[in-house]
Point group: C2
Amino acid sequence: MGASCIIRHFEFYSPLTDQDKKLLDSLEKAPRCVVKNESVWQEGASTDHFYTVRKGWMYAYRNMEDGTRQVLDIFVPGDIVGLREFAFRKRISGLTALTDAEICPFPKKRMLDVFSQSLLLCHIFFMIASRDQSILLERLVNLGRRSAKAKLAHFLVEISRRLEKTNVDIGNHYRIPLSQGLLADALGLSAVHVNRTFQELKEEGLVNPRHGGIELLDLEGLKAVAGFDPSYLEEDVHGLLAEARARHIAT
Amino acid sequence: MGASCIIRHFEFYSPLTDQDKKLLDSLEKAPRCVVKNESVWQEGASTDHFYTVRKGWMYAYRNMEDGTRQVLDIFVPGDIVGLREFAFRKRISGLTALTDAEICPFPKKRMLDVFSQSLLLCHIFFMIASRDQSILLERLVNLGRRSAKAKLAHFLVEISRRLEKTNVDIGNHYRIPLSQGLLADALGLSAVHVNRTFQELKEEGLVNPRHGGIELLDLEGLKAVAGFDPSYLEEDVHGLLAEARARHIAT
DNA sequence: CGCCGCGTTGAAGAAAATCAAAGCACGTGG
DNA sequence: CCACGTGCTTTGATTTTCTTCAACGCGGCG
């Protein structure tokens, strides 16, 4: 059996000591399987666990009083879910499975062990939180100041980029299991308009929407339409991190 | 002279030991004054410092290729600015002063000292990052799924809530120094439309827009218009935090 | 087969953007 | 103290973008 889900994620940032790995491993409890459309938690639920996504896709959402909803984030394998709610007792968004999936819970309480026992892991957790924020920021820009076409293109490119990062092995990250209705709720548009926007992108040969999914045909073209600037995804995996590693090993 | 800016902020979460205070104090360098409209950093600048806002208001923004911009966040006294970019070498948003202001830089490098020397402070930093994210999430909802009127009302209520938290002493947090143009860029609207929306709110007696600022007349009314649910601002200042404190003191 | 979820289409309407011009408050310099 | 410029607000007319509503198609699945 391979490295646990979270170890693989962390090793993207830095090599880990055996001790670190042991610590992380002890966090991760038995994986839990969820089926498509199964709800993992709802708004208001308790926040005693985080999850790492081992397989499949998930999404976080918020239901509005008027019956609409806002999809807040999409999670792909390797992502950590729930860190957002670290400071809160109750979840501020729901989480449900977009496809059949496998997720690994780990208890929030144990974060204290991590913080106290490994400077390096603590630092990496902080980097992950920072990255999450920067993704949200970009999503803000997307919702606030881009046309429907650019919104859609940008969102698709981002997802594809995020897949590349953790799924290097999977050659085809060009198949995206998002329905048009879900994209609408993620982008603050109506499903009808998403559909029409897709038709434009399709005519330009950029995407190929199929039943319940999208195929990305021309990433570069999409980037151009979106005005995509990847810098918000490009973390500094050297710099401070190296010093944290050095210091951590020294103790 | 009173406690440093950041100590006051942290004591909102938990009482600190003298050692913690000393550590925090050592982080905070000499305050820097900036005048209205002065730029503190631009997109792409280096991320070697965070800042705490001691006086005045600041805003973070992103300029788009087409000449528009998105205002990403507003900062009020007590806020910490720049944590977002912890994982990055370069800033992904600009920061400029909305009013004359006083900010206290502290070096990002020293975060390692904090993490290694104080479990409690580390934990609080994490809570702050979590809170920042939850504010961004709510802003996403605001941009994605609310009408112009609700957007505006919600944003104003949020600001007022955030002011209450750190500025308990200031009785009148009902005077907000935001121009309509800036609000437009924050809410993804045009300045013209913001103006018209203000007129509606004004007729209902909820706000009183004056030159270069807004007076909030009826917070409850605004909350109703916004469908404001404050839970995204209500952190759990007990729970894990208490355990962190206990453990921290034990060592 | 028939249902159900999702995608597609058309027509009509609402929300917000854009353009352009004018007004108003404030500071600055004469 | 007044004239002037500048930045922000206000207003009206027009246009664009996106939504809403309603209907239909289509594929998968029990």
